[in-house]
């Protein structure tokens, strides 16, 4: 072996060893202690990074869980009680059970209920359409149907239903992360309590206009008549600004408000049929 090779190997080994020693001491000096439970908690979370918990991602949520004194204010809507149970197990906290939620679009203004009165040909996003003018129909409160909620959903839980006029939330896929709630410029989407078999009784309207104006714009608009409020025995229904609202935390799914509504603004879903209902096929003429 020539001398050059030996020198090279020797020099490199010396440099390597001394660098390793320096790095070892530097690492010791600047060591940041990280709670191993953060990693463990993060592993238990769904890893969707959807932001539904209110934190930047699952890691940030895990850090918050480890720092917190109790889990009562923290909830991962995607994982639900099961995930929060295992997080509580890891951290040694008491698990707080929370009602699972599901998103609902409070507008039933499909095109056979709510005729178009004008055309918008600008950039097709709800945010821009809503900022430019009141919408293609006479209802200024309802869905503008360019699908900002659809694009915001990371779980494929929204069917845009092109041509029908209002998107549909697929209850089995919805994790109630709330992304669509923020995306909707008309504030139509609400996170409601999820009942068994995803049954619901909801006022599918946000129209705060006076009854006559609302009804003229849309045949299934809530006119704020107050019949449902009188019918409800559980104080779940309140009328404000010409609009009824059913509080899902108080509702007992008795369905008594549904038949009294003169405009069919209250809809029930997930129940066995009361009587034979002929399904109306909804189709829109594209103008």
């Amino acid at each position: 072996m020539s001398l050059t090779v030996i020198y090279t190997i020797a020099t490199l080994s010396v440099i390597g060893t001394s660098a390793a020693v320096i790095l070892y001491f530097v690492a010791q000096k600047f060591k940041v202690y990280e709670d191993p439970r953060i990693d463990e908690t993060e592993k238990a979370l769904p890893g969707a990074n959807c932001g539904g918990c209110g934190f930047a991602g699952c890691r940030a949520f895990a850090e918050a869980c480890v720092k917190a004194d109790s889990l009562s204010d923290l909830n991962c809507p995607v994982g639900g009680n099961e995930t929060m149970g295992s997080v509580a197990g890891i951290l040694g906290f008491e698990a707080h059970k929370k009602d699972p939620r599901v998103a609902f679009i409070r507008c039933n203004g499909t095109c056979n209920h709510r005729p178009k009165t004008s055309n918008f040909d600008g950039a097709s996003t709800c945010a821009i359409a809503a900022s430019v003018y009141s919408g293609e129909t006479d209802c200024q409160w309802g869905c503008v149907s360019y699908g900002d909620c659809y694009y915001s959903c990371k779980f494929d839980a929204i069917d845009i239903r092109a041509g029908i006029g209002v998107p549909l939330i697929l209850d089995d896929k919805c994790v109630a992360c709330g992304a669509c709630v923020e995306a909707c410029p008309k504030n139509l989407i609400e996170l409601r309590k999820q009942f068994p078999k995803i049954r619901k009784v909801v006022v599918a309207c946000r129209n705060e206009d006076k009854g006559g104006v609302a009804r003229k714009a849309c045949s299934v608009a809530c006119i704020g008549c107050g019949k449902c409020e009188k019918e409800c025995k559980f104080d779940a229904i309140t009328i404000a600004n010409n609009l009824a609202f059913i509080d899902s935390d108080k509702c007992k799914l008795c369905r008594k408000c549904v038949p009294v509504c003169p405009t069919n603004a209250i809809i029930e879903e997930g129940f066995p049929p009361r009587k034979i209902v002929t399904e109306e096929k909804q189709e829109c003429s594209t103008t």
């Binding site: 821009i128 009141s134 200024q140």
Partner: protein, 443 residues
């Protein structure tokens, strides 16, 4: 070589169809709807009640702050109701409905057409009178005029610019006003000069109105300190900052007000309103509106009472053509399509433009091909294609650094885009969001 601004600009076909039509007085409508928000700033508060009898020129809504104005009844009659009704955007706005009975004006208004040249008010009195008369910027921005006339502390106006540019295609209301009320405009200019205590005033007029330039140049000789500047026709020369650059060569700093370079700009319509308010004691309750369009039988300029329904103007111009695609309030570049012809004329309505179906629809847009036409036409020196993408991707901090708030929304970028991209739509969206972010930061 005619003066103009240096950066960007486009020159759309002018189509000034009603340029030779004299201003006609539109008959008083049967009923008017006068919104209480016709200006930028705080809404005025209604001071009449249902059933009250009002006279033409009577205050019906009082200003509710410094950046706000009074609103006067444009007709005489009975207040029918105070209710919500859709404005041009379709969102309901509060306003006063008045059923017209006769035409009884307030006694103090001088209704003669005679020119009154002399005035003996001092500056603050003129500003106060302007404030009382409910005068706003009538070029379309509707910013209360009295606010502009009081410069912030430490700043002083040196020159008053009168905007007679009317660079928007189709519109001719300012042009006709200059042709028919030249002396009144010059007296109004002197009033504003006095109000602001400036020695110099310049009236900027684009070269496509040679008649107005000639007339005003001839008459301006008899008025001290007023000159007329002919400008090369280029859109958006009527923009405040562009006009200052074109006439004085000064550049308003980014984010600054025109007063920062010693200039204040007023539209000729506003100047005429100032003349009427001070010399004739007549508050702002009527304005000149151009009704035009390629298919319109009789494109005209009307003197209209505020609150008249748009449909009445269209009817007077020969009715709504059958193949109408869009009705636009304002000009084709910066105007907005209205949702129905029932919306009223307000203080900021400079024109009603009717566009046939064949031209009304936007073409489907395609990808950006990086041709940079929008960059070269932007009069503010921005990069519209980039601002659009930032708006689309909602990257608002970067958009703010790219000076999105400097955009004057002239629409030159969308006009020139070969891919028909809705550039301005997204920039407006970005501006709204960035504006909100800036406001919350200040709090």
């Amino acid at each position: 070589m005619l003066k103009t601004f240096k950066v960007g600009g486009v020159h759309p076909p002018e189509n000034k169809l009603s340029a030779d039509k004299k201003i006609e007085v539109l008959p008083i409508p049967k009923t008017v709807f006068i919104p209480v928000v016709q200006h930028i700033g705080a809404p005025s508060t209604a001071v009449v009640n249902k059933g009250d009898v009002v006279k033409t020129g009577q205050i019906i809504a009082k200003s509710s702050g410094f950046v706000s104005t009074n609103i006067h009844s444009s007709v005489s009659g009975k207040v029918k109701k105070i209710d919500l009704s859709p404005d041009s955007s379709g969102y309901p706005k509060l306003g006063i409905f008045i059923d017209v009975e006769g035409d009884h004006w307030m006694e103090e208004i001088n209704r003669s057409e005679e020119l009154v040249k002399e005035f003996d008010l001092d500056g603050p009195q003129i500003v106060q009178k302007i404030q009382e008369s409910g005068i706003v910027g009538m070029g379309g921005a509707t910013f209360p005029s009295h606010v502009k006339l009081v410069p912030p502390k430490g700043m002083k106006a040196e020159i008053l610019l009168i905007n007679g540019v009317e660079c928007e295609p189709y519109l001719t209301s300012d042009h006709r006003l200059m042709m028919e009320k030249a002396d009144e405009i010059l007296v109004g200019t002197q009033l504003l000069m006095k109000a602001m205590n400036v020695e110099k005033a310049a009236i900027g007029i684009e070269n496509n109105k040679p008649g107005a330039i000639q007339l005003l140049t001839g008459k301006a000789k008899h008025y001290k300190g007023i000159s007329v500047v002919a400008l090369k026709d280029k859109y958006p020369q009527g923009g405040e900052k562009q006009l200052i650059k074109a006439v004085t060569g000064r550049e308003v700093p980014s984010g600054g007000l025109p007063i920062a370079v010693g200039a204040v700009v007023s539209n000729v319509g506003t100047v005429f309103a100032v003349y009427e308010a001070i010399q004739k004691n007549k508050p702002l309750f009527e304005r000149v509106v151009t009704v035009t369009g390629k298919e319109v039988k009789n494109p005209s300029n009307f003197k209209v009472r505020i609150g008249t329904a748009t449909s009445e103007l269209i009817e007077a111009a020969g009715g709504l053509p059958e193949n109408t695609g869009k009705i636009i309030s304002g000009g084709p570049m910066m105007g907005r399509a209205i949702i129905s012809p029932d919306v009223p004329v307000t203080k900021g309505t400079s024109g009603i433009l009717i566009i046939p179906e064949t031209e009304a629809k936007r073409k489907p847009y395609r990808e950006c091909i990086r041709c940079s036409r929008c960059v070269s036409v932007c009069p503010m020196g921005l990069e519209p294609f980039l601002l659009m993408t930032l708006g689309q991707k909602q990257i608002f901090d970067r958009a703010e650094n790219e000076r999105i708030m400097n955009c004057i929304e002239c629409g030159s970028c969308s006009y020139t885009c070969p891919s028909y991209r809705p550039i301005l739509d997204y920039i407006r969206f970005g501006k709204a969001k960035v504006g909100a972010i800036i406001r919350t930061r200040k709090k």
